[in-house]
Amino acid sequence: MKNHFELKMPSDGVNEGFARGVAAAFCLPLEPTLEQLSDVKTAISEAVTNAVVHAYDGVGEIRLFGELDEDAHTVRFVVEDDGKGIEDVQAALQPFYTTRPDDERSGMGFTIIETFMDDMRVTSSPGSGVRVEMMKVMK
């Protein structure tokens, strides 16, 4: 069995929780453990929060895509925006790095996605938005 979905939503903070719920529900056919489900919710929360906080001055669009392959026991998600993009992706991936230190941002978002998921890829350049791809094997 394979499944997929595509979702557009505004970069409003209320959608951090909404996106977590959508991602968790989507994984259920793979019969994830509680920990695996928590891992997905946490990683999605990080990526969506990054877009809410950083992508736009004001509110813009966030797109969430999901793909599931029951035979391969994998789930993939993409969180994408059309915002200002990341100046230095390598720096952004470093633990504790943040462009908003005064906001009490921990700078751990990408580190958490990398740790909680099995694969992560971040694509961005200034002015071209951000695309975060992540994958988890749920056996």
């Binding site: 951090e16 929780g17 977590r20 920990e35 809410v52 906080v53 009490e104 921990s106 978002g109 958490i112």
Partner: protein, 103 residues
């Protein structure tokens, strides 16, 4: 995100409940700081028992309070950390700064 507080002797215990994410944390900082700035205690214990979800925003909130309290020479402690929250804390190494206490 609910915040309740209780004073037990020289300890101020802050009990959090619900999801702790960027959206719910927005009002939490002001509320927590108001309680902290009242002073008159030597420790602040964060009871995480009712936290149903936390991401790195929660980490930022905890570390922000830790820095503030350190400036006031008040010790911070964590209590009743649920598994999902514990995993986020362990990933960031927060326990090297803030110990967990048993009840």
């Amino acid at each position: 995100m609910g915040l309740e507080f209780k004073r037990r002797g020289k300890d101020l215990c802050l009990t959090l409940s619900g999801d702790l994410d960027e959206y719910t944390a927005r009002s939490l900082k002001a509320e927590a700081d108001r309680l902290i700035e009242a002073r008159g205690f030597s420790t602040v214990t964060l009871d995480m028992g009712g936290v149903t979800f936390m991401d790195s925003t929660g980490l930022g909130f905890v570390l922000g309070r830790y820095k503030k309290l350190r400036g006031m020479r008040v010790e911070m402690l964590l209590k009743n950390v649920p598994p999902q929250v514990d995993k986020v804390f362990r990933t960031s190494g927060v326990y090297s700064l803030i110990p967990i206490v048993e009840d």
